[in-house]
């Protein structure tokens, strides 16, 4: 009897899942598998005539200094964006949490960038970053600093693109962090306060551990977002100058859709998949090692 009902429960679970699984297979799993097949082929122009090239494209990527530079640009970008957006959003979330009066208006202000499409947001920054007529360098000139050529100087462009990304990411992250902060038990805070713990200690020993699942989630998502950033780079720098913002996704786009090398782009997608999968796994293991599994 009980076995029977468990069986039928499983069956109906599958039944309910079926539409979602079907769509996921069509739009995610099948194309992903097909990418793998594509990565072993080249195409004649404008046709489906696939020319098998074996591992050639992977070998070319392995030997390519451009691809290595692109990998380094991606790591640099992630190294700037992830800490920036995680710490930045934590700071903003905590400040907003402490000032109930301004909370809703500032939360809305910080959320606006999330609502703007990456292309629109980046266009805004193109104007701000303009070296001669941009607002940013105008502000700098008021304090006597000659601002850099934000988007055309290889040393500054990665920073400029990261800044834009962090600006957009913070709004997204604070949604989760503020929700988590609202859940921190007030009794604990009060008890610690009674025991004479100062604000910093209370934050470090009570707030932070309490919101660590949210912090973990925000970090994982920020890393993935950093690896898949495209829109703002496309608008701001198109991967330049001199490849300094040519992250892996941008390289992939360029090979697939500018250079018409779909097979090559597929090979790059497979490698990117492996990298992001590995990075995400590592994060899950580290989190488990630090503090049991997230639920």
């Amino acid at each position: 009897m009980s076995e029977n009902s468990a069986d039928s429960a499983t069956r109906s679970a599958w039944l309910f899942l079926a539409p979602a699984l079907f769509l996921m297979f069509i739009f995610t799993v099948a194309p992903a598998l097909f990418s793998l097949i594509l990565s072993f082929h080249d195409f004649k122009p404008f046709s489906f005539a696939m020319v098998p090239v074996g591992l050639d494209q992977y070998m070319e990527l392995a030997a390519s200094e451009d691809y290595r530079a692109s990998l380094m640009a991606t790591l640099q970008f992630a190294a700037l964006v992830v800490p920036g957006s995680v710490i930045g959003s934590l700071a903003v979330a905590v400040l907003l949490d402490q000032t109930p009066f301004f909370r809703s208006i500032f939360r809305t202000i910080f959320l606006i960038p999330v609502g703007i499409s990456p292309a629109m947001a980046a266009m805004l920054w193109v104007f701000l970053f303009n070296p001669t007529s941009g607002f940013l360098n105008y502000l700098l000139s008021m304090v006597g600093i000659v601002g850099p050529a934000w988007l055309s100087d290889p040393d500054w462009a990665p920073l400029a693109v990261s800044l834009t990304t962090v600006w957009k990411e913070v709004g997204f992250n604070i949604i989760f962090l503020m929700a988590a902060l609202a859940q921190v038990p007030v009794e604990l805070q009060e008890a610690a306060w009674m025991d004479g713990a100062n604000a910093l200690r209370r934050f470090w020993h009570i707030t932070l551990p309490s919101i660590s699942p949210a912090m973990f989630f925000v970090t994982v998502v920020s890393v993935i977002h950093a690896f898949e950033s495209f829109g703002q780079i496309h608008i701001l720098t198109r991967g330049g100058p001199a490849g300094s913002t040519g992250v892996l996704v941008y390289q992939l786009f360029r090979d697939g859709f500018e250079n018409s090398r779909l097979g090559m782009a597929a090979a790059e997608a497979v490698i990117l998949f492996i990298i992001i999968g590995a990075v995400t796994l590592v994060q899950f293991f580290v989190a488990r090692y630090l503090k049991g599994a997230p639920q």
């Binding site: 404008f46 007529s133 690896f227 100058p241 697939g256 018409s260 782009a265 997608a269 796994l281």
Partner: protein, 458 residues
């Protein structure tokens, strides 16, 4: 425990897979799965001639009105109307066309940038325009400028209708010129360099020169020096397999920019086309080098008078101006895969676009130059060019182009990739990371690899 771990692994792989792998494969497909991804039904009878284009802003408005007039006439005579479909940038446009051809649902007509020419010729997916004309004298081929036709004439056949054609010119802020005691922009690179300290004005926050850091201008500088970009006579006598950038001619333009940049005379706003124009219009740069297609907009919108000159030559080559500029812009292609009757109507529309009244309207409203001698002659006769000398410059420059492989411009199936390599070299040289020689050599090695891969694929 094991179970849980597996679940995370599954989750994390799923998440990362979802974000990475869809983009490429969702947009492609394969021999076997073409049906799955695109459907493989027959193309239905069309209710309109589909025309895919990449004109945006003011230019799209002009194109719209030209097509509207055609459609009014079509409605009266029972012909198929033309349906315009904007497909984004040139790059987006050629990608959409490629996917449409692969999915066996091409439009009747598509506007494609000039550097897509070789790819389309090799695709086997197009009907050469000359085959459609089939000797129809009404088309007016004899009225068309050979300097324009030669770009799109491949393997001895005119393949597409040159539509929005342009070349690069130099724009000058007349106020800045007058302050420097000049009346016209310098006509040599050396002259620009010499005049720059007088044209710039740091008290007004004005640099001397600005231009988009695009390979197109590098290619123009080569052509102007009579040099080739790729072998096989610029890919005109056969499929090219080698690129020639790291020559004295190639280094010349980069060294010029590098020197100006070092003196603070060059406002580098990157690869995009709009920022240099904004810079110039805001009075932040005295000189601007860019496409002639901006000539009317700039003249109307700048707050100061604008003087236009020809793309500079290299004075050190001597008094002989060796090369012309290369045709830029785009052309319209007729696609295979649609019913013959529909293509006859599409041809009728092409003939309309190529006609003198439409060419004239297009020219005077956009800055792209007309492809017909009779239009230029008529405008000349009416005093249009006397009143608009700036518009005349690009036309003169075009007519002066010699019949040489350098001036015809290069053809390459992997042209977009070549541009990418050249632009990287330009940025490396300007970023001070390297000299122009090593930067161009690296670009050359990568470009040769790409050219040879393409040749092998054919």
């Amino acid at each position: 425990m094991k179970m849980k771990m597996k679940r995370w692994m599954g989750f994390s792989l799923l998440v990362s897979g979802a974000v990475t792998m869809i983009p490429v494969s969702a947009c492609t497909g394969g021999k076997n799965s073409a049906g799955l991804f695109f459907g493989s039904g027959k193309v239905k009878k069309a209710k309109a001639i589909e025309f895919w284009h990449s004109m945006s802003g003011d230019k799209s408005l002009v194109l719209n009105s030209i097509v509207e007039d055609f459609n009014k006439d079509a409605a009266a005579t029972g012909r198929l109307p033309v349906k315009l479909q904007f497909t984004g940038t040139y790059t987006d446009g050629i990608n959409k066309l490629r996917l449409a051809v692969m999915g066996k649902r091409p439009p009747h007509l598509a506007q494609i940038y000039e550097i897509g020419t070789q790819q389309l010729v090799d695709s086997g997916a197009v009907i050469p325009l000359e085959d459609l004309i089939a000797g129809d004298s009404e088309f007016g081929l004899d009225q068309m400028l050979p300097q324009v036709l030669q770009y799109y004439t491949v393997k001895g056949k005119l393949h597409s209708l040159p539509f929005a054609t342009s070349n690069p010119v130099i724009y000058a802020n007349r106020d800045a010129l007058e302050a420097a005691g000049m009346t016209t922009p310098p006509d040599t690179f050396e002259g620009v360099e010499e005049a720059c300290p007088r044209l710039a004005d740091s008290s007004k926050g004005r640099t001397c020169l600005t231009l988009p850091l695009t390979s197109w201008l590098f290619e123009q500088s080569l052509a102007r020096q009579g040099a080739l970009l790729v072998d096989q006579e610029n890919g005109r006598s056969g499929v090219s397999g080698s690129a020639i950038y790291a020559s004295a001619e190639g280094r010349f333009f980069l060294d010029f920019l590098q020197r100006l940049s070092g003196n603070g005379m060059f406002a580098n706003t990157g690869r995009s086309w709009d920022p240099p124009v904004e810079n110039f219009m805001a009075g932040r740069s005295a000189l601007l080098v860019t496409s002639t297609s901006d000539v009317f907009v700039l003249g109307q919108r700048a707050k100061f008078p604008v003087v236009v000159g020809r793309f500079p030559v290299r004075a050190s080559l001597g008094p002989v101006i060796s090369g012309g500029t290369v045709l830029g812009g785009n052309s319209i292609w007729a696609m295979k895969g649609r019913a013959d009757g529909e293509m006859k109507q599409a041809y009728h529309f092409l003939k309309y676009l190529a006609s003198a009244p439409v060419q004239r309207r297009w020219h005077v409203n956009t800055g792209y130059f007309p492809i017909r001698k009779d239009v230029i002659g008529a405008l000349e006769g009416e005093g249009f060019y006397a009143a608009n000398p700036n518009a005349r410059v690009a036309v003169d420059q075009l007519l002066a182009a010699p019949d040489s492989a350098a001036a015809k411009g290069a053809l390459a199936g992997v042209f977009p990739e070549l541009r990418e390599h050249v632009e990287n070299a330009m940025e490396e040289a300007l970023g001070g990371k390297d000299g122009s020689g090593p930067a161009l050599e690296r670009a050359q090695v990568k470009s040769i690899r790409a050219l040879q891969r393409y040749r092998k694929l054919l």
